[in-house]
């Protein structure tokens, strides 16, 4: 197998790169053996359960394989799956839904997350405790919590509708968050924002804490207004952190599945059918394995490409 050869070459290089003064001093296992044995199981596991499936998906994406009809056999159809996907109105719809979800969740989470972090950084009494309380939602199982939110969104008996009617005076049964075509895309944005704002907040807080006090003191000496200090010190110095948080969240939300499946399962119709939900339908309900593999590859390349461009931009911001 080429895999094991690669590992061997790898560990050899590792061993050669180990400084000789350490190697001579070793009794028992040599550094080379240790490097080899320590890394090998991880590499093997990743090759078997991460890399091999990826390669297999790439292969399947060029075929018309259907996983529920293995006996029928399948054939190589070249790029036809990719061609079909790019001309498939459903796929474009699903990407639109994903884009809507992605943009609005990022928008709200950045505003709320940064705002909260800024407030918490004022260090009022008991801020440690309340920070812990705020970050609880993001530790929980999205599927279980998403399922319970369907209860909160019930038009008559749900707490959410009741709360809205309490605040605005609209009767609680006059709107359905999940059942309504116009409101359903917002219902998933709300739950995701509820769940993941703490994440953005945490990273912003780390950014705010990294700003040394003397910068503000210097600005104070120069008689810069608080407003000016905020825009020319706080914001630029937190920006790299904020961008990092957005990167992590955007990747996660691009492949969002569990929360939304349990909340709306893509409905009503397909107004909340995110890319992953569409992918699951194609792969595990319609069993179009080849086709869905091609879609999976397209999604992966998109995230990977976008993330790389974004990281370049992030590094430019950091250097400033």
């Amino acid at each position: 197998m080429t895999e094991s050869l690669k590992i061997e070459r790898y560990s050899e290089r590792a061993a050669r790169a180990t400084p000789p003064y350490l190697a001579t001093r070793v009794r028992g296992l040599s550094d080379r053996t240790i490097a080899w044995t320590f890394i090998a199981p991880t590499i093997v596991l990743l090759l078997l359960i991460n890399i091999f499936p990826l390669v297999w998906t790439i292969y399947l994406s060029f075929t018309n394989y259907k996983a529920n009809r293995t006996a029928r056999g399948f054939e190589w159809i070249g790029l036809r799956n990719y061609e079909r996907i790019l001309n498939d109105a459903d796929i474009w719809h699903t990407l639109q839904v994903t884009a809507h979800f992605l943009c609005w969740t990022m928008f709200f989470q950045v505003i709320l997350g940064f705002g909260l972090a800024w407030l918490i950084n004022k260090q009022f009494k008991g801020h440690g405790f309340w920070t812990t309380v705020i970050l609880l939602p993001m530790m929980l199982s999205p599927a279980v919590v998403g399922n319970f939110w369907t209860f909160l969104y019930q038009p008559q008996i749900g707490l959410f509708n009741y709360g809205i009617s309490f605040l605005t005076g609209v009767p609680p049964s006059s709107f359905q968050m999940i059942g309504d075509v116009n409101l359903a895309p917002w219902s998933i944005v709300i739950v995701d924002t509820w769940m993941w704002t703490p994440y953005v907040m945490l990273i912003c807080l780390a950014g705010l804490r990294s700003i040394p006090d003397y910068i503000y003191e210097a600005a104070e000496v120069d008689r810069a207004s608080k407003w000016r200090q905020f825009w020319s010190i706080t914001v630029p110095m937190v920006l790299p952190f904020l961008m990092l948080a957005v990167l992590f969240r955007a990747i996660e939300n691009f492949k969002m599945f569990d929360l939304v499946v349990e909340l709306t399962s893509g409905g009503p119709g397909s107004v909340t059918e995110l890319a992953s939900i569409n992918l699951k339908r194609e792969a595990f309900e319609k069993w179009r394995t080849g086709y869905s593999s091609a879609f999976a590859i397209i999604l992966f390349v998109t995230v990977f490409g976008a993330a790389n461009i974004y990281v370049k931009a992030l590094n430019r911001v950091k250097q400033r």
């Binding site: 790169a17 530790m139 279980v144 945490l202 699951k280 792969a283």
Partner: protein
């Protein structure tokens, strides 16, 4: 987190602090409301749970928990009359709803599956991860950064995309719907992050410690076991909790790759709602029992967790 940093000139005023505190606490209370509501609903009776307006004051009942752990059949009043008097409080509760207990539900099994798969994969990820992280940290490995980035980038795949070939592979070699299959899968997903985090922790342990131990006659492996591991214990524990929470909460793979034997709780809990889709207390009871361990972990170990959640970006 000390709160004692010297804000000599920059100190924000006392009133401002009250206002900011107020806003944050208000947000925290709003954000807690759905979670509190899960807990509250789990102690309601089914009719109370779907009353309008939503009931805040009600007589607490354990019906949700009884329904969670049992399967029940509806019976005629005549049949119920003919039975000997109920032996336990839960028998009595079920009979007051014109039903008898038919047997235990699957919740216990599903919960145990979550425990087995969660702890199994956590142990494996941390064990393999510590070894690999040590090698990455201490030996100059060419292309180490590229390799680490590549390992992490596999997390950019949507889980469903990974699930397609895994599903086919597991079906072929007979690992689908088994504990071992899920443990291996979750380990593979977690290990990239485990190595990433643990490398950060081990990097912080000075090399001089091991070198000193090796001069004293320890082998490199001995120095690793006797010197590095005890120093890295906090980091290992933090990583373990992080891996455990991931495996505990994971849904997509569990939904697609397990159906009976090895099904974990997350895909099961939404199916509890039961006949007519009205048994919200049972569903809430399941959610409460399932979410509670994570809540407790989070409150106790917040600082250690932060590092994992943020991929090592937050170190304090």
């Amino acid at each position: 987190m000390s709160g004692t940093s010297a804000h000599s000139i920059v100190d924000s005023g006392r009133t401002l602090r009250w206002v900011t505190g107020g806003i944050v606490i208000f947000y925290a209370l709003i954000t807690m409301l759905p979670l509190v509501w899960i807990l509250v609903t789990s102690f309601k009776t089914p009719p109370d749970s779907i009353s309008y307006p939503p009931k805040v004051v009600f007589e607490p009942s354990l019906e949700g928990y009884v329904n969670l752990f049992t399967t029940r059949t509806r019976q005629t009043p005549e049949y119920l009359e003919s039975l000997p008097p109920p032996e336990t409080w839960y028998d009595e509760l079920v009979r007051s709803r014109n039903m008898v207990i038919a047997g235990p539900s699957k919740f216990g099994e599903r919960f145990m599956n979550s425990v087995i798969i969660g702890f199994g994969s956590t142990f494996l990820s941390v064990f393999l991860g510590t070894l690999a992280a040590y090698a990455f940290s201490r030996f100059r490995i060419p292309l180490a950064n590229d390799l680490m980035f590549f390992i992490l980038s596999t997390r950019m795949m949507p889980p469903i995309a990974v699930a397609i070939p895994i599903f086919l592979m597991y079906r072929t070699i007979g690992l689908s719907d088994t504990h071992l299959g899920m443990i291996l899968l979750y380990t593979a997903v977690n290990i990239s992050l485990a190595v990433w985090l643990l490398k950060g922790f081990i990097d912080e342990i000075p090399r001089e410690y091991e070198e000193a131990a090796m001069i004293d006659g320890y082998s490199r492996f001995g120095a690793f076991v006797k010197v590095v591991l005890p120093q890295a214990v906090t980091g290992i524990a933090a990583t373990a909790i992080f891996c455990l929470i991931f495996a505990w909460n994971e849904y997509a793979f569990a939904l697609l790759l397990t159906s009976g034997e090895a099904q974990t709780a997350p895909p099961f809990i939404p199916t509890i709602i039961g006949e007519g889709g009205l048994d919200w207390p049972a569903s809430a009871a399941g959610a409460t029992l399932f979410l509670l361990p994570v809540l407790i972990f989070t409150i106790l170990l917040r600082k250690q967790l932060l590092r994992g959640i943020t991929f090592g970006a937050v170190r304090k």
